[in-house]
């Protein structure tokens, strides 16, 4: 079995093993999940390390064994894919460890591992049929994760999450079908191979097909008018579910744009770039403004994700080396920082069963470690120099300012980005202050909050170390993602 196949089969096998182990009790299932996610992380490292050692410019590919309907089993991984697969694997491990003490059935672990498998499949597939199948397959485990283990409003949020994404991807599917049919019309060959489809002649239907793809990916990012599923899903999901949602699943949308939509429609994507950049700028500002208005800590972080994804999109749209690398890096950064923040809100919720800003106060005295890690991740998230968020946002915005794409280098977009960065501080710092540093109000539930234990601290140390590493020495990460991104978008 090729190592790339192993990357998506391993967690799936782990999911099945967890279900079987569940027959022997909850501890067995838990141990099985830990073993599977460790094995997956090991497999990822085993693939990524030689790749980086080789300069990061190569491409690992698997076969193209043709199946029916023009579909072929085509997997490939460049640095960008590998970085996201690494992130998936790492965050899955984080989720398993952070949920260790939850009293949940084996299905919980199985769903997380199945999700990791589908996500890896998305990042590996180079055949659009396979890509679409994996893309949709991610929805089923997440639907159950939100619906079965979420908080009060979980039922509604689970269905909303599924329907919104499906709404986008149905039109994406129609667009792909049009593309495949057009290619067949011109060449007489049925194929779903991404590389081959670049030459599909679409004629007047081109803008519609591109719009279908944008709709599919835009819902997932989410781009602002299509974002309304996100706050509900992220707020209602269990902590680990929010980590996967924000950490990896939002990246699917950008990944799809970069991997599929932009290469297939090089001219159109350049022509539409100013409009898309306008939406991205709107994301950055509107997401931040919404976050300022929140009284629920988890919802606040959910809205901040919308803002952060706006920066990523701006960077990618600029088509400069800096912007691309910054956008790509910011995808990883957001996974780490927002993942850490959601985890900590989860720890708070486990202890106090509340998430409101007004429900706490004075936690700095009661839980100093939590205060430290929360402050650290939050500063990383708003872009303090020396931490990872700064590198990503700075590169994205400077890329936009130097962009050669017509209309994109006008100061408007960069200025909107800077406004977004400023607003980030304006929503994050008051929230941090209210929860951790303000005096305890009489109705406060801070009394229930105990400080982090060793397991929780361990997870957060790992996440924080990565944030610091990227912040101080981003070069090793950039060598992984930059060459492949440059090849993709230009």
């Amino acid at each position: 079995m090729s190592p790339l196949t192993l990357l998506w089969v391993l967690p799936l096998a782990g999911a099945a093993a967890c279900l079987l182990a569940g027959r022997f009790g909850r501890t067995a299932a838990r141990l099985c999940a830990l073993a599977s996610s460790c094995a997956h992380a090991g497999a990822c490292l085993a693939v990524i390390k030689p790749f980086i050692a080789g300069g990061g410019a190569g491409l690992i590919a698997v076969g193209g064994e043709p199946l029916a309907f023009g579909v072929s089993y085509l997997l490939a991984a460049d640095g960008f894919s590998l970085a996201l697969i690494g992130l998936t694997s790492f965050l899955t491990l984080v989720c398993v460890v952070s949920s260790w003490e939850l009293e949940v059935s084996a299905a919980y672990w199985a769903n997380f591992l199945a999700l990791a498998s589908a996500l890896c499949g998305v990042f590996l597939a180079r055949d659009l049929f396979i890509f679409y199948v994996f893309w949709e397959a991610t929805l089923i485990p997440m639907f159950f994760i939100i619906g079965l283990w979420g908080s009060e409003n979980r039922r509604h949020a689970a269905v909303k999450f599924f329907l919104f994404t499906f709404a986008g991807s149905v039109f994406m599917l129609l667009a792909l079908l049009a593309l495949v049919s057009a290619h067949h019309g011109a060449t007489g060959v049925w194929t779903w191979d991404l590389q081959a489809l670049k030459s599909a002649p679409l004629g007047a239907a081109g803008p519609w097909v591109f719009a279908g793809l944008l709709l599919g990916f835009g819902v997932k990012i989410p781009v602002v008018p299509l974002h309304t599923w996100l706050p509900d899903a992220h707020t209602e999901a269990p902590a680990a579910g929010s980590v996967m949602l924000a950490g990896v699943m939002l990246k699917m949308g950008l990944y799809g744009l970069i991997r599929v939509a932009f290469p297939l429609f090089a001219t159109l994507s350049e022509a539409w770039a100013p409009w898309l950049a306008g939406l991205a700028a709107l994301n950055a500002v509107y997401g931040a403004l919404c976050a300022m208005a929140q009284t629920d800590l988890k919802r606040l972080i959910a809205y901040s994700s919308i803002a952060h994804l706006g920066f990523c999109l701006l960077g990618v749209l600029s088509r400069t080396d800096q912007g691309l690398a910054g956008g790509g890096l910011q995808m990883i950064n957001h996974g780490l920082t927002t993942g850490a923040l959601f985890l900590m809100v989860g720890f708070l919720y486990e202890r106090a069963h509340k998430r409101g800003l007004a429900d706490f106060g004075g936690l700095a005295v009661r839980a100093p470690w939590l205060t430290f890690f929360f402050g650290f991740s939050m500063l990383a998230s708003i872009g303090l120099p020396g931490l990872n968020g700064f590198v990503g946002e700075f590169m994205s915005l400077s890329g936009v300012a130097h962009s050669a794409v017509p209309l994109l280098s006008v100061p408007f977009f960069a200025v909107a980005g800077v406004v977004g960065v400023t607003l980030a501080a304006a929503y994050a710092l008051p929230a941090y202050q209210a929860v951790f540093w303000a005096p305890e109000a009489p109705q406060s539930v801070s009394g229930r909050v105990t400080d982090l234990d060793a397991r929780e601290k361990g997870i957060l140390w790992a996440l924080s170390a990565l944030m610091l590493w990227i912040g101080l020495a981003p070069q090793s990460w950039l060598t992984l993602i930059e060459p492949s991104l440059r090849g993709l978008v230009r």
Partner: protein
């Protein structure tokens, strides 16, 4: 030789009638006959060659493919039917009628087969099962009137067609307005049988009132026969006037049914509307098939859809039969009581919703693909919207099943046979998601 499967079924009908002559027909023999006759028809299918018995019978590859789906879709009801000899004869009569319809070589034979398949079906709806007899009788009468109307339309259309062309089969040349009108009337009869809006008014009542197993049979085997019926009508003339309408009609019908299903409280009525939504997609597929010069690829896509749907619909109605659940309220929290059955039902619902990697996804994909390839973007977008709305209630059912607390007593589940049937259907529906890719020789034959 070319009518081997039909002969097996005819033998079954005669056998059931013969057993009925005994004072007390042996239950085991009746059950065995009911199950073995369609099974024998299915097993004889690979030995059946294509051929002609002019002018009545024409067996082509499409006919054989459709028989495969019809007999397979009839098996669950065959397995679950009661030991009543009259019911056995009625059921086998319906299947025989369907078998004859697939092989009909000219219009009078098509009409005969249509009636042969329909008349016992009305009685089957009225008679099968126990309890609530009044409602079933009412539904059967409604079904009968709708069917009689369809039959009348068909006869009138045939008369008009014959009066101008003097043909009882396909016309090689373009025909005049009168004959076109006749063909349109015949197509209306077919759409009646399929249950496409606006000729669907009988469908929700009948599908709701019949016992779930019978509804499963009607929504799969009967639908397959009716779709082939429509395709035969389209084939009558080189360019039928109504054919360009079919994609729009199908997509609109699907959309309408999806919206109607959203608000249903009765599970069986919800699934009835869901079945109508699927039928709309099939009509869209027939429209695409007609537009692309009756391409075998599109026919294969329709057949695959029918095959996948046979598993899905028999499975979901089988679930209702096995559990005795009637309303959505009873479904709440059912996964805690019967995890295995609930998992199978959830898998079937994801299949019906067309979520990858299931057979339902591949089926929807193939039909939508044909619509896109036939340059029908409008109907394709409507159909996609319908799929999206449908997913709303399928997910709603999964939510009820898994995420809600049990609120009321649900009836005790049925026997092992019914449960195994649901599991087999769920497995089949899931497996069809991978099969077309792996069985590339089979699919590739159609595809090239």
């Amino acid at each position: 030789m070319i009518l081997l499967p039909q002969a097996a079924l005819a033998g079954g009908v005669l056998g059931a009638l013969g057993l009925g002559l005994l004072r007390r027909p042996p239950a085991l023999a009746v059950r065995a006959l009911t199950f073995l006759a369609p099974l024998a028809a299915l097993l004889l299918l690979p030995m059946t060659p294509a051929g002609l018995l002019p002018p009545l019978i024409a067996v082509d590859i499409k006919c054989l493919g459709w028989q495969l789906v019809i007999y397979a879709a009839a098996l669950p009801l065959a397995l679950r039917s009661s030991a009543d000899d009259v019911e056995a004869a009625l059921f086998l009569g319906v299947v025989l009628g369907m078998g004859l319809l697939t092989a009909a070589g000219n219009l009078p034979m098509l009409f005969l087969a249509l009636e042969f398949m329909s008349l016992p079906a009305y009685l089957l709806v009225a008679r099968a099962g126990t309890g609530e007899g009044g409602r079933r009788l009412e539904a059967a009468v409604k079904y009968f009137f709708a069917g009689a109307l369809a039959g009348g339309l068909f006869l009138l259309g045939m008369a008009l067609y014959y009066s101008q062309t003097h043909l009882l089969g396909p016309s090689p040349r373009p025909v005049g307005l009168l004959a076109q009108g006749g063909v349109t009337l015949m197509a209306a009869a077919a759409l009646f049988k399929i249950g496409a809006a606006p000729l669907h008014w009988w469908l929700p009542d009948v599908y709701e009132a019949a016992v779930p197993e019978v509804t499963g049979f009607l929504s799969t085997a009967m639908k397959a026969a009716a779709v082939l019926f429509l395709m035969r009508v389209v084939q009558l003339v080189p360019s039928a006037n109504f054919a360009p309408l079919l994609p729009w009609l199908g997509a609109a019908s699907s959309l309408f049914a999806a919206v109607m299903a959203l608000r249903q409280e009765s599970l069986q009525r919800l699934l009835a509307y869901s079945s109508m939504a699927h039928a709309g997609l099939l009509v869209l597929g027939v429209g695409a098939w007609a537009r692309m010069g009756q391409s075998p690829v599109a026919a294969a896509a329709i057949l695959f859809y029918l095959g996948a749907y046979a598993f899905m619909s028999n499975g979901t109605f089988g679930f209702l039969a096995a559990t005795g659940l009637r309303t959505r309220a009873q479904l709440k929290g059912y996964a805690r009581r019967q995890p295995g059955l609930a998992l199978a039902f959830a898998a079937l619902l994801f299949c019906l919703g067309g979520v990858p990697p299931t057979g339902g996804f591949v089926a929807k994909l193939l039909v939508l693909w044909q619509a896109v390839a036939a340059e029908l973007p409008g109907p394709a977008v409507l159909a996609a919207l319908s799929a999206l709305i449908s997913l709303g209630y399928y997910l709603g059912l999964v939510r009820d099943l898994y995420f809600e607390e049990p609120v009321m007593e649900s009836p005790a589940p049925g026997g092992a046979c019914a449960r195994i049937l649901v599991l087999v259907c769920a497995f089949g529906a899931l497996a069809l998601g991978a099969a077309p890719l792996l069985l590339k020789d089979l699919a590739g034959g159609f595809w090239r």
